[in-house]
């Protein structure tokens, strides 16, 4: 699969088939993703990838536990002006409309949130963390690596959904996988598997701002 198709076809998949993931394909992706760039070549990303019994055990623990307070980091920035929540609302509304869910239906929305615990039925979940000392540029590096993984997964016919939701259970997750809470911060989970092509939540039209709102050009005639 070429890069443009991988970028365009990657979406946050929120309904997976129970088709297992080939461990060799996964390993290939993770090996290749090591070539992702990072400032000073720090490669600050770390991850544990779970499947089968350990994954089910972790998911049961998360479902039974209250969310930690506060979450690992502010999932949405403090003092964010309305322009940004509007972008979330837009895409949320696009999905609700496609699924025929009334946006005011709290029970239906809560069910959507609960699907996060089980990573939308994905057979594999990657938990991504890094040393707490890392600053904003290193968080960006971790992002470069995560997108590299997501695009390489597309190349293997696999789908994903990055889940900041896991930051609400960061301590529990780290304890389960044996990562120090003192030294490391959990950034996100990533559901990995095969998308259910029939699910409406995997097919609605996603919204983005126009590129000219984000990028300016100087010196081009």
């Amino acid at each position: 699969m070429n890069v443009a198709d991988a970028v365009a076809s990657r979406r946050s998949v929120r309904a997976f088939l129970d088709t297992p993931v080939d461990p060799a394909a996964l390993r290939r992706v993770m090996e290749a993703a090591q070539m992702a760039p990072s400032g000073c070549n720090y490669q600050p990303w770390e991850a544990t990838i779970l499947t089968g019994a350990p994954l089910r055990e972790l998911q049961a623990k998360m479902l039974a536990a209250p969310f930690q307070q506060p979450e690992e980091y502010a999932i949405t920035p403090v003092d964010v002006p309305a322009e940004y929540p509007r972008r979330l609302k837009e895409i949320g509304a696009a999905r609700a409309k496609a699924e025929g869910i009334d946006e005011a239906d709290k029970a239906a929305r809560a069910d959507v949130v609960r699907q996060n615990f089980v990573s939308f039925g994905a057979p594999v979940v990657l938990m991504c963390y890094m040393p707490r000392v890392m600053g904003p540029p290193q968080w960006s590096d971790v992002g470069m690596w995560l997108q590299t993984v997501m695009l390489l997964l597309r190349g293997e016919g696999l789908d994903s959904c990055p889940q900041e939701f896991m930051a609400m259970h960061g301590k529990l997750i780290k304890e389960f996988i044996g990562v120090s809470d003192e030294s490391h911060i959990l950034f996100c989970g990533m559901a990995i598997g095969h998308a259910n092509p029939e699910a409406i939540c995997n097919t609605y039209q996603r919204t983005r701002i126009p590129v000219d709102s984000a990028v300016r050009y100087l010196g081009f005639d």
């Binding site: 290749a32 992002g143 996603r206």
Partner: protein, 223 residues
Amino acid sequence: MDVSQAVASRRSVRQFRPDPVDPEVLRRVLTKAQRSPSGSNIQPWHAVVLTGEPLARLQLAVAAEFPKGRAGHSIPFHMNPVGIDGIYRERLFGVGESLYAALEISRDDKAGRLRQYARNYKGFGAPVMMLVHTKAYMGQAQWADIGMWLQTVMLLLREEGLDSCPQLCWADYTKQVRACVAMPDDHVFYCGISIGYREAEAAVNTFDVPRAVLDDVVRFEGF
């Protein structure tokens, strides 16, 4: 170009050919990159793409400050984390030594190393530079989103036959960068990224770039 080829062939190119970059290609890449993911669909990335006269002006402004050393730097940026483990220094030295070995610049040749470092501020000869910035209140998670977008851009550039080099070092001259492109006051500047065509034979573009062994950074459970 296959995704895996794009990932494997992307490297921080440090010698570009002077050939111009088609603006249409850049627009195509940046338009496609808007599909990059972000938490809560926040899309926190901002960029200014420079070429020609504005780019030359920025390079001149920085060149005027460069001889002052650290005294010429703007407000120190959080570029190097405090209290970082030795393993990360090893990774930095690993790539640094590979680079200088390829260029046959010895450890004692301080002037030679400084000359090579100064090439950063000419964008290694690239005809285009993109300056990346974001709103100051964006948190760690949004910085990760910006990284996802940047790598999307770099991989899409590969598919167009183009190369890039992301450069944190421009943050040392934030003041000059801000002034040259009229960056809004409530934004922070993150990095520059040089864009152009690689000089394929150059030693600086062909040495083996070391990476950590997969098993040192990723664990598999339940497989």
